[in-house]
Symmetry: C2
Subunit: 223 residues, 2 copies
Amino acid sequence: MRSWRLSRTSTKSRSKAPAHIPFKEMSNAPAQPDTFLSNLEWRRAVKHFGAGPVDVEPVIRAATQAPSSFGLQPYRIVAVKDKATRERLQPACYGQSQVTECDTLLVFCARTDVTGRSEEFLKASGAEAVRGMLEGFVGNLQDQVAWASRQAYIALGFALAAAAELKIASCPMEGFVPAAVAQELALDSTLHPVVLLALGEPAEEDGTWPRFRFPESDLVRRV
Amino acid sequence: MRSWRLSRTSTKSRSKAPAHIPFKEMSNAPAQPDTFLSNLEWRRAVKHFGAGPVDVEPVIRAATQAPSSFGLQPYRIVAVKDKATRERLQPACYGQSQVTECDTLLVFCARTDVTGRSEEFLKASGAEAVRGMLEGFVGNLQDQVAWASRQAYIALGFALAAAAELKIASCPMEGFVPAAVAQELALDSTLHPVVLLALGEPAEEDGTWPRFRFPESDLVRRV
């Protein structure tokens, strides 16, 4: 499994998949143009980016504002703009084109030392009064890394929404070898890469499939 | 651990925590008012809601537009507006006030049958050409429920960002007993509640702590 979404064949060299996949039409009508919702509906995971630079700072800023349980923000984001580094990362990402074509690759890393993170939180926030509750919470977590990973995915959601709002092309990716990415970025053992987000200029031939989302009736039940 | 964020004591009956926690000042200056970013910076997890109704439909819509690996959207959102149901859910949520005070409680459930979900995806999207890759991807997942849960957290991020954009008060909650929530909502065994999101009218006395986020230097490394 090499990418979050697959490439629609725009050139023969890019993929061996058939040129036209019979995706059904999206069942939901779009919202009004250029609204928050229409921008979310516009966005899709691209396989190819344009060559121009984009300002990814607001996207990074959005990610840092995401909520997390108890406010621990148990993650660190490595923003890789340096192209040589991205070229070295590409093999660890199964050679995916987005890694080198993007402007910046965000590497979301879960912090594995959640107990240590709690201490950092107490020190940075000054919220000593919550120490007892916080220690109880952390002590009761069944899987600290899994928990930290889920918090990182909220930040991923904020970054994706921000990119959509700014019409920056994006591609979240779970297809990579965490240990190899960690080694290339010289991450210490408390950081575990969980998901990547490539950001860049939209391209005309972006290699996306027709967009598909399940209808609301599948996704939502009302009580 | 009873709530995502804790209550600042607005009345003595609400909490035994001291009235003034010495949270340090937030280190980052806010963005321009009423921008996408400033709205993200405005939002915080509230403990109390106003009594008025809010239109949560755009928030639900945003959640349904979130991306997921391979587009499987392996989750279902139970939107509980019915107050009697929320009152019955409250004990399963450690009695948290947000459950009954909110307008609507979103219950994000991971789909535990990811293999079955893949078939639903292939049928709904018509993308039979990707069957081999998709089956390989799903077959290689180390923990399908953990994976589905992470995808649900992207949708949570979209819902939180949408609520912020619309100035709807929100409180994500991990403090609940999944089996009890599942029983109260009569969920079948393929749905596992992973996180809640209470949505409602902002209140003047919302019970929030001073807002804290780690500084960017803690959260981001640039390469």
